[in-house]
Assembly symmetry: C2
Homo-oligomer: 385 residues x 2
């Protein structure tokens, strides 16, 4: 793969309800901030990918409504529906195609203005499955139960993820839900869908994120400027079946395939040793343990054991979600792009109070799309290539 | 640009109401047919782009529901919201990135199962603009009026496009509305939104389309097989402002920019002379005249004159919409991809009864997205490169 880099990033503070900005205003904020971060202007950007979802925006063809706000007027702009990591991959292939020098990727959503349970109930097949009441929460509860059944994981194991990530969020000014809690607090929190309790579940958030991905020629032209390029070592994604009944919910072959391809591109042979930091899509606490396994950080069914080893703590050998993760702020559509942004900031040394106390050569960022992690996108980023 | 080709195409018959197939079944039909057209199997495909829209599918994250139907299980799959030409561009950049050998693009929608006026009313800004009752039809009527006002075009000029395209559709078995009508018939048809009448307006359609875009190495590996590659000479797209009040509705600078970039990639210097055929997105009859101008087939305001010259008739120097165009079948989301498929079939000599009586070296295909042609995507295709 040719040399490509992330040269500018921005995120809004993620809020339960952003009453001061509509979605175009949030998009404008992160676009201008990402440009400033890269030390360039909108005229330097030659194409744009926006990531959005009609139902969360409460309007149809909503992607067309934010193009002015991200400076896409009389530019080449495309629209992706799904998690932001998939939009970033589109940006990457555009640059690798040789047709563009850089791409601005912008993702947003306002969960406060919609009904997440209704919207995610709507993602299921309408005749037989939707009337069962499945939504993001209830389907996740089924997956958590399947994972417990397959590998003997316990609710207390999931609670440890919640303790870690909500604690990490205390030092991240962009996070929404930050708190010091104990396993007992998580266990005592309100049961929403057995076995998931309030503190196992990510919040509903408003926010936006932007990233500028650049080809090497443009990156080199910025030398001496403000930009601190973070290089892309690998990126891949795979999908599993849509119907939950066709899948083994306790395992994620799509994540395994995506990770293996990314690692082979990035020259990562032993992920638990070669990866210095991971930001992964923990929409629910149990997911983080499952994704450890899919990412090859530990063996199948060994997620809880790996968690208990302390490796993924902020001062561990392989810190996971130093930002607080998705459990601490879940801006659907933007959440995966924010994982990439957090990994970028850590590599640059710009993560502020939650900056890790070590040099990061290789970071992993991860996004998911579809029910129960149907599709997975994995990125390997680093300070050099 | 590296050598890339379209190696397989398929479309369903476009119907007012397809009661026999749900959307996944239509997607399966075109996927298997496009693979057969290329003479390959699903295992030969290494990644997939699906094009869909949640509101038209009546479910959220609907893109995730068709991945099994298009064979994306345990493959790399991405989802684009918008016209199929934009999804095809994603496919193209993937191949040009060097990471993939080919990409299957699949687009579908079932207009019969939704309310197009309600959905397209939903594309406008909700507080000030949506309550005015703007939708695809009423906003198009405003654009038609603006165009008439700017250049003196008449309703009868628009009617001639309707006469030509509905007539061409008589020989296209995939078209939905095919009929021999006169200018007087169009003028006498029911007035839907002044100045647009029933025969000026594209129908609501159900359908799907699929296309396989291939890198040169894979294309060459098929030599001696069934595939008849059609080469991609150029492709580009640009967007205009979202808010209609910020635009000069009588002109399309975004189309002009997209055409100019495509022509420069394809080595087209004089479009009216160098282009042998165009399939363009005539959602309304007046649009075809405007797009002639944007595509540089004639000067600004000269669309009606160019139409009257006979150049764009099926036996003219530059036939436009030999298939019958979007006026004869408007499967939203798929309609632009079908323009590319029709251009491909004409170049291959596989267009059947509406095959042009000349060799086609260069064909143009065109898609639009957003209200009143906010974004335009232009492709140049040919039998050689």
């Amino acid at each position: 793969m040719e040399k490509t880099a992330i040269i500018g990033v921005a995120q809004t503070k993620q809020l339960r309800r952003n009453v001061k900005q509509n979605f175009a205003e949030m998009v404008y904020e992160v676009t201008t901030a990402a440009l400033a971060d890269a030390g360039i202007e909108i005229k330097d950007i030659d194409n744009i990918v926006t990531v959005s979802n009609d139902f969360w925006d409460g309007r149809t063809i909503s992607s067309m409504a934010i193009q002015d706000a991200c400076g896409a007027y009389e530019k080449n702009v495309s629209t992706v529906e799904g998690d932001g990591t998939f939009g970033a991959h589109y940006a990457l292939t555009r640059i690798l195609s040789g047709s563009y020098k850089n791409t601005l990727v912008v993702a947003h959503s306002k969960g406060s203005e919609s009904d997440t349970n209704l919207i995610t109930n709507g993602m299921f097949e309408p005749i037989f499955t939707r009337p069962l009441g499945l939504d993001n929460l209830t389907s996740a509860a089924m997956q958590a139960r399947a994972y417990m059944h397959a590998f003997g994981a316990k609710e207390e194991d999931f609670a440890e993820v919640s303790v870690k990530n909500h604690g990490n969020a205390l030092k991240n000014p962009y996070a929404q839900v930050a708190k010091k809690v104990s396993v007992a607090d998580v266990m005592a929190s309100r049961r929403l869908a057995d076995p998931l309790k309030l503190f196992d579940v990510s919040p509903i958030s408003d926010g936006a994120a932007a990233m500028i991905i650049s080809g090497d020629e443009f990156t080199r032209s910025l030398r001496g400027g403000k930009a601190k390029p973070v290089y892309i070592k690998g990126a891949a994604f795979y999908s599993d079946a849509y119907d939950l009944g066709l899948r083994d919910l306790a395992r994620s072959p799509a994540l395994k395939l995506a990770a293996e391809k990314t690692y082979s591109m990035a020259g990562i042979k032993n992920p638990a040793k070669d990866v210095d930091l991971a930001e992964i899509y923990d929409a629910f606490s149990y997911m983080e343990l499952m994704w450890y396994e899919g990412l090859g950080f530990c063996g199948e069914g060994k997620g809880a054991e790996f968690m208990k080893s302390g490796a993924t703590q902020i001062n561990g050998a392989l810190p996971v979600n130093a930002s607080g993760g998705v459990l601490s702020a879940h801006t659907v559509i933007a959440a995966g792009l924010i994982r990439m942004i957090e990994a970028t900031l850590q590599i640059r040394g710009d993560a502020g109070a939650h900056q890790l106390d070590k040099k990061i050569n290789t970071a992993i960022a991860h996004g998911i799309n579809g029910p129960c992690g149907q599709a997975h996108c994995v990125w390997a980023l680093g300070s050099s290539i």
